[in-house]
């Protein structure tokens, strides 16, 4: 049986739309990165927090971090550029510039700046983070839906 040309075109249009949708999902996916400047122990080795550093991800305005500081940066897409500028113990200014990728389905990750400064691999300095904090939303006992003529029928 010969498939008509019109059907082929329609199928191609549907496939194209799905592909664009998938592409949009990948390039538009937002990740939250918690940039952390705390002393950390990885594989039995302790990496000390940097005294003062500036961090910029994907060309954003540099943020200054002192020991025990943590900031949240929201990034879009999977491929990112990290720039860390800091002064080492000999008062020499150093600049670390690396590219890294964020897993698609990771929403929140923790990035250790001391690990970055010491040249550790991505899987060491960028780890999954599960928020343990109870948000205001979670302790709210009930949000009332505004009931108008349209929603009145539902027992909310």
């Amino acid at each position: 049986m010969k498939i008509p040309r019109r059907l082929w075109l329609r199928a191609a249009a549907v496939v194209l739309l799905i592909l664009i949708g998938v592409l949009m999902f990948f390039i538009g996916r937002q990740h939250s990165i918690l940039v952390d400047n705390k002393t950390i122990e990885i594989d039995g080795v302790t990496y000390k927090a940097l005294d003062l550093c500036e961090v910029s991800i994907d060309g954003s305005a540099p943020e200054e971090l002192v020991p025990r500081d943590r900031i949240q940066v929201n990034v879009m897409g999977q491929s990112h550029k990290l720039v860390v500028t800091y002064t080492d113990e000999f008062w020499e200014e150093k600049r670390v510039e690396i590219r890294f990728r964020t897993p698609v389905f990771e929403e929140m990750m923790l990035m250790s700046i001391p690990a970055v400064a010491n040249g550790l691999s991505v899987d060491k300095f960028l780890t999954h983070f599960e928020s343990q904090a109870i948000t205001v939303d979670q302790i709210e006992q009930g949000e009332t839906i505004s009931i108008d003529d349209d929603t009145a029928a539902f027992d909310i």
Binding site: G28, R29, Q30, N74, T135, I145, S146, D150
Partner: protein, 371 residues
Amino acid sequence: MSGKKIKQNKVFQLIRNNPVPIMFVIICVICIPLSGYSAGYLISEIITRIVRNSFLIISLLIPIMAGMGLNFGMTLGAMAGEIGLILVSDWQVVGIPGVVLAMIISIPISVLLGWFCGKILNLAKGREMVTSYIISYFISGVYQLIVLYAMGPIIPIKHSSLVLPRGYGIRNTVNLLSMRQCLDNILAIRIGTISIPIVPFLIIAVLCFIMVWFRKTKLGQDMRAVGQDMEVARAAGIKVEKTRILSIIISTVLAGFGMVIYLQNMGTLNTYNSHTQIGMFCIAALLVGGASVDKASIGNVFLGVILFHLMFIVAPKAGMNLIGQAQLGEYFRVFVSYAVITLALVLYESKKRRAGTLTGRKLADAQEDDK
């Protein structure tokens, strides 16, 4: 007939053919000085409203072309767009990719709803407007059922910022800050205090060109033929029912896109109410622009958006300055939108009757002459 009389006649014809736009021009002319707003502020606000609403209003043109009147069923497309935005917000897709993805998600939902609406409207020929109005209420109920109960347990929604504390259902408001005005801010030009968003204007311009082109295509010609006379179109071999369904599907899909553009501009989605008034306000704006139930053009869209929203902007402040109550202006704008639709429908009906009487009279005269 003297030249003066011909001129007077032309003015009278103009007033008789465009009572609604003229009425709005008068209202705006009275309200603008009373409101005390600067010209810069008004222009800036009008530009924002054009960007926000034009796409939605243009989606109404195709059913009018196909003789199906004002498509109150555009609310269905708006709901599809909202579902797209809810899902995209949950998937944390932001910015322009988020807007595009929401539009893509809305397409199958809009097509399905448009097909359903078109099928029903084919069963209610001649009463399309009231039928589509009621369908929009029916589908709004289904939408609320899905959003209140299915989102969470059946359709996975995991973000606590979206889900109600009880564990299922979507909150009253969905924050779209991550995609707010993302289209407007690309290549925006600033002239003094006025910001001109180039990209949304380009999108609207492209849609206008598509509309002009569409009228000349085979399907566009078929729709016009169906709009003029269904029986003649059927005799000419046009599949009337299919053409009418297609017009509603296209309108619903465009309304879905329009709703995404509208909400990305607003930056917040009112889950249960955003779509309810959208059809009414878009139709009112189109009618204010001088369109009627059976005739509308792109010019009507822009004139309507400018006049209708100008009144929206100035009426509350004018009410405040005049009577000391801003609420009067708010009340005024809602009341006027309904009044405009009523007036336009009454005028359309009286015009149709007048035309019918005139044709009858001509026919009777011709029969007299034959005797």
